[in-house]
């Protein structure tokens, strides 16, 4: 084996850290999907009839649609009748406050490094913790509500703030938007809801931690973030799942609404189980994330660090409706072993003088395939709009692939679109340079990869940036060329 492939091997053979699972007594729906299952879910959640109707409509649409096949992804067809659509750890009674939450559940999150104890969480991060189909706890709710900020589970929002939910649900990502969004609309179970009132700057990071625990279960969460005029919020999402031989489905929808002068920063550190080194098991991550910069001067910024999942299909997007609105997308997507990722962004410019930026850094190792797919569309009325896209690919080894699929569509002459793309390999000479200074291989690769992804990582909130850097090195441990 050549030195190069030896390094690659070592660096790619790190085990997944969060692969354990806990045996909870669970309240589950029977396997499969049909109207009755949807009614079952809706009933479990005591939902109002309008929402059940909305779900059933979505299911009708879903049945008429076909699974998208245009992505640069290959995986066996998913049998949607073999998935459990609802699974919730049984709790004696529904918890009114953190004190009532089953200590086993709190322990599970502690093990993931997520403390639900407010005293311990002095870093200024409020957490909504979701296991399988339900939200377990949301911290700092009271403190936030003093400012009029609503941060709670989606189910709770349906009960407590039905008007807001009804007004915004499905407005950014309609039920019939795409196959997976339709599926999610029919069976979504929980997720986070967040509302920032006019003029309020949310004083802490809001975050949701998603954990898939049960076997054969899909996770279909729904997140809705509403930022009223001149408000600001930074939101972070993290995810992990146990190691299992079968593939599990995760089909989420995130909708963001930004009113005039509002700013929303949405960061994701996605670390779903990627499957084993032979490509067995892992999460199918089919996610629709979209934000609308509805008001003038509004801004939505997506930052994602994608290290997990067997297959990723995900294009966080911005509809820049407001004049002078700004959309940003920063992404690091790492694929290793047999992982596949088809990810990127869509920037739809409608408002005048709207601006967007796409910075995508793909890192492929092992036998993986990593594709950037992005669309920049500048409508006729979006005069003087600008986009800058930069898509870089870094290859580790020579058995992986990197692909770029940019779609650019400009309908007026005063706008400017720039696209830059590079592909590089981690050079042996770069590694030798590091080694010669006494830095070991593993750290050399971590250093080079983190340097490469720095532009994106620095967008993350401080405490997560460090985590993300560690995660990048862990994911790639064993791989260079």
């Amino acid at each position: 084996m050549s030195e190069e492939s030896k390094i690659i091997k070592e660096f790619t053979s790190k085990e997944y850290e969060h692969g354990w699972s806990v045996n909870f007594d669970a309240d589950e729906a029977p396997i499969g999907i049909n109207d009755d299952i949807i009614k079952f879910i809706s009933k479990k959640k005591n939902e109002p009839s309008w929402l059940l109707k909305w779900r059933l409509e979505a299911f009708k649409t879903f049945k008429k649609m076909d699974e998208p096949n245009w992505a640069n992804l290959e995986y066996p067809k998913v049998d949607y009748q073999k998935i459990k659509y609802y699974s919730a750890p049984k709790q004696k009674k529904s918890p009114k406050s953190l004190k009532d939450v089953d200590p086993e559940l709190i322990k599970t999150f502690n093990r993931l490094g997520i403390s639900l104890n407010e005293q311990k969480k002095l870093t200024g991060v409020a957490v909504d913790a979701v296991i399988d189909s339900v939200s377990i706890a949301t911290t700092f709710k009271d403190k936030l509500s003093e400012l009029g900020i609503i941060f709670c589970s989606f189910s709770e929002a349906v009960k407590e703030h039905p008007k807001l939910v009804k007004k915004y649900l499905g407005t950014v990502v309609p039920r019939n938007d795409n196959y997976f969004a339709a599926l999610n609309s029919a069976v979504f179970t929980d997720g986070s809801f967040c509302y920032i009132p006019k003029g309020i700057r949310c004083p802490m990071e809001l975050s949701t931690y998603f954990r898939i625990n049960a076997a054969n279960t899909g996770q279909f969460e729904r997140t809705l973030i509403i930022a009223e005029d001149s408000s600001y919020v930074s939101y972070l999402e993290g995810c992990t799942a146990p190691m299992r031989d079968e593939n599990q489905l995760h089909a989420a929808v995130v909708e963001i609404f930004a009113a005039k002068n509002a700013e929303v920063k949405y960061s994701t550190v996605q670390n779903w189980y990627p499957g084993d080194e032979n490509g067995k098991g892992g999460i199918y991550n089919f996610v629709t994330k979209r934000g609308i910069c509805f008001g003038n001067n509004s801004k939505i910024s997506w930052t994602q660090v994608e290290t997990g999942s067997a297959v990723t299909w995900k294009y966080p997007s911005c509809i820049l409706k407001g004049d002078h609105s700004v959309g940003e997308f920063y992404s690091v997507a790492v694929t290793n072993n047999y992982q596949q990722a088809d990810t990127g962004s869509k920037m739809i410019h409608i408002g005048k003088n709207s601006k967007s930026k796409i910075i995508s850094k793909g890192i492929s190792a092992g036998f993986s395939q990593n594709s950037y797919r992005g669309q920049v569309k500048i409508m006729k009325r979006a005069k003087n709009s600008r986009n800058f896209s930069q898509c870089d690919s870094l290859l580790l080894g020579n058995k992986c692939g990197a692909h770029t699929f940019p779609y650019i569509d400009v309908e007026n002459k005063s706008s400017l679109v720039e696209h830059e793309a590079t592909t590089s390999k981690i050079g042996e000479d770069q590694i030798f340079y590091c080694l010669q200074r006494g830095i070991d291989e593993e750290n050399a690769i971590a250093l080079i990869v983190n340097g490469y992804a720095k532009e994106v990582l620095k967008q993350l909130p401080m405490e997560f940036s460090v985590e993300a850097q560690k995660l990048l090195s862990l994911t790639l441990e064993g791989s260079v060329g």
Binding site: F432, C434, L435, Q436, G438, N443, L447, G451, Y452, K454
Partner: protein, 244 residues
């Protein structure tokens, strides 16, 4: 300190070094000169442990230990430093961050505690003056957009930070104007002690006016064909290599 015996080295089945012997003691400066393609840079790379080169036979010993099978980072930790002829760029990694990582790994190897931020910066400031390199440059990505002179000064700065026992300067003078050459040489001279040694690989006698060697070796076709004092370098400058 360094003892090379009957060293044969090949790259892609081409024999480059054909039985080379070299002994270097503590505190000495040795210059290796020779025409293009004689194996000078190969020698520098092989001492540093570059695995693209294959050692066919012979041995390299450092402080009495055969290091033939030692990895490049092990050799670096033992105190071997190579100032590259063509230093690479590493985007997004600042020299400060880079050299801090390197320094602390070497300190760990030598059973020393890592330098804290304050002491690290103090040390850095001192060494920066040595090669007249400014802080700004060190905060930027390593060698990215650096001029030829800046790259070479950065190499010597790193050398100053890591305090190696054996430094190998591989054509450090190439691409330097006379002012930069003086700065770099001055830095190297100030780092000389009775304990550490230097190998200067160069084409030209010019550098040796500033870094004065104790010994000069002429490398031709993979072997050292002549060794002598610094006067040998002057002779070579006048007569070329053909007479050897």
């Amino acid at each position: 300190m360094l003892s090379i015996k009957k060293l044969k080295v090949s790259i892609e089945n081409n024999l480059i070094l054909k039985g080379l012997n070299l002994d270097i003691n503590q505190g000495e400066v040795h210059a290796i000169m020779g025409p293009n393609g004689s194996g000078k840079s190969t020698l520098a790379s092989v001492i540093a442990g570059n695995e693209n080169y294959k050692v066919e036979s012979g041995s390299i010993s450092f402080y009495g230990k055969n290091i033939n099978d030692f990895s490049p980072d092990e050799r670096a930790m033992m105190g071997i430093f190579l100032a590259f002829q063509y230093p690479v760029e590493i985007p997004g990694v600042s020299t400060i961050n880079f050299i801090k990582t390197a320094l602390n790994r070497i300190r760990e190897f030598n059973k020393k505690k890592p330098l804290d931020a304050v002491n690290f910066l103090k040390t850095m400031k001192k060494k920066m003056n040595l090669v007249k390199i400014d802080r700004d440059l060190l905060s930027r990505s390593i060698n990215e957009g650096f001029s030829g002179g800046e790259k070479k000064r950065n190499e010597i700065f790193q050398m100053a930070m890591l305090e190696p026992k054996l430094s190998i300067l591989d054509e450090t003078d190439s691409g330097l104007d006379i002012d930069a050459l003086k700065i770099v040489s001055n830095g190297v001279n100030k780092l000389r002690t009775k304990d550490n040694s230097t190998i200067v690989v160069t084409h030209y006698q010019r550098l040796l006016d500033y870094i004065v060697p104790d010994y000069v070796h002429v490398l031709i076709d993979g072997k050292i064909v002549k060794s002598g004092s610094k006067n040998l370098a002057i002779e070579l400058e006048n007569k070329g290599y053909d007479w050897l």
